[in-house]
């Protein structure tokens, strides 16, 4: 069982992820500020984040997250409604932020998401 921090503003997606990843301990937040607080309380193994966040930049959160040395080994999965090409991610920022996977919601099945989580956890 892994500790997974989910940063997701959409309530329906939150409940879907809670059901999908029921074998793990999920902490679900809607905003990046809450995510920092929750990660401080209990260090996650994986962060699953929607980077298209109203009023906040998911990318800014990731840059801030990576400034904390204690969380350096936390894996990050971006599960977003934004196409990768529409983001500011390039190979440099990908490496800097240590992104494990970028999954485009409309084209990623829940099975694929679950499989990605399991693969990443098995590599740890």
């Amino acid at each position: 069982m892994a500790q997974i921090l989910v940063v997701e503003p959409d309530l329906t997606t939150q409940s879907i992820l809670l059901e999908l990843l029921i074998d793990h301990k999920l902490v679900v937040v809607s905003e990046p500020n809450e995510a920092i607080v929750k990660a401080s309380e209990s260090k996650p193994d994986i962060v699953i984040i929607e980077i298209s966040l109203a009023g906040h930049s998911g990318m800014e959160f990731l840059y801030e997250f990576r400034t904390y040395n204690d969380w350096d080994d936390v894996k990050i999965i971006i599960f977003s409604k934004m196409i990768l090409e529409d983001t500011v991610l390039n190979s440099r920022s990908w490496e800097q932020l240590k992104i494990s996977k970028y999954l485009y919601k409309p084209k990623t099945s829940l099975i694929e998401l679950k499989k990605s989580v399991e693969e990443i956890l098995n590599k740890k």
């Binding site: 329906t12 879907i16 196409i83 090409e85 409309p106």
Partner: protein, 224 residues
């Protein structure tokens, strides 16, 4: 003529609409996958998402937000990719998608992402015109003027497609009076093929009818 304020407003509205409609569709896809009972809803929601993504891609290329990336693209491989992706949709409609690719067909000089979008739209659009469960054939073959890709069926109802095509003399097309249902994907396919320098038109082979377009053969690979 420069971009008017109303053009800009319309453009912004389209971008907003794209994001607003995408979100609930993604939820529908996820929920239907989770309960594993609503395969038809799942397939239809994915179809709608593909339509939105392809319209968005067309918008970005046609407004020069992104440039076409022309390179040799193996058309047979792209068709197979699209066919695999659309197989659940075809099945949900009681149809079977058959791929017939001529051997050694080679490559076309084109943009792979736009071509894939055009082929997805074409196939989905043809499915919308089909009035009963049937076989749909996705073909690719070399012709004197290039690489011909077509999607055909013996159950096409052209009346359901209120999209016009250029006439044989390639003069300007008739204005579109109404667009509904079947036409959205066909119109998108028409415009995406147009970005690739290909004209989408009605076509027929034996007892099958459908739509086809001719792509430019890759000169790079044909010289090898």
């Amino acid at each position: 003529m420069g971009v008017t304020n109303s053009d800009k407003v319309l453009n912004d509205l389209m971008t907003i609409l794209y994001e607003e409609v995408k979100a609930p569709l993604v939820n529908i896809v996820q929920l239907s996958e989770l309960d594993n009972k609503n395969k038809i809803i799942n397939a239809k929601a994915k179809k709608a998402l593909r339509t939105l993504d392809n319209i968005n891609l067309y918008k970005k290329v046609s407004s020069s937000q992104i440039a076409l990336k022309l390179e040799p693209v193996h058309v047979g491989g792209t068709i197979n990719e699209v066919a695999n992706e659309l197989e659940p949709l075809m099945r949900s409609a009681g149809c079977r998608l058959n791929v017939e690719i001529q051997g050694s067909i080679g490559a076309a000089d084109t943009d792979k992402q736009v071509l894939k979008g055009a082929l997805q739209s074409l196939c989905q659009g043809l499915l919308d015109t089909v009035n009963k469960p049937s076989d749909i054939v996705f073909t690719a073959r070399k012709i004197p003027t290039g690489l011909r890709v077509s999607v055909l069926s013996d159950a096409v109802c052209f009346d359901s497609v209120k999209v016009s095509f250029k006439n044989a003399n390639y003069s300007s097309s008739q204005p579109i009076n109404s667009i509904a249902g079947a036409a959205a994907d066909i119109l998108t396919a028409r415009e995406m093929f147009s970005l690739l320098g290909a004209d989408l038109g009605k076509t027929s082979q034996k007892n099958l009818q459908g739509f086809g377009a001719t792509l430019n053969i890759s000169k790079q690979l044909s010289m090898v």
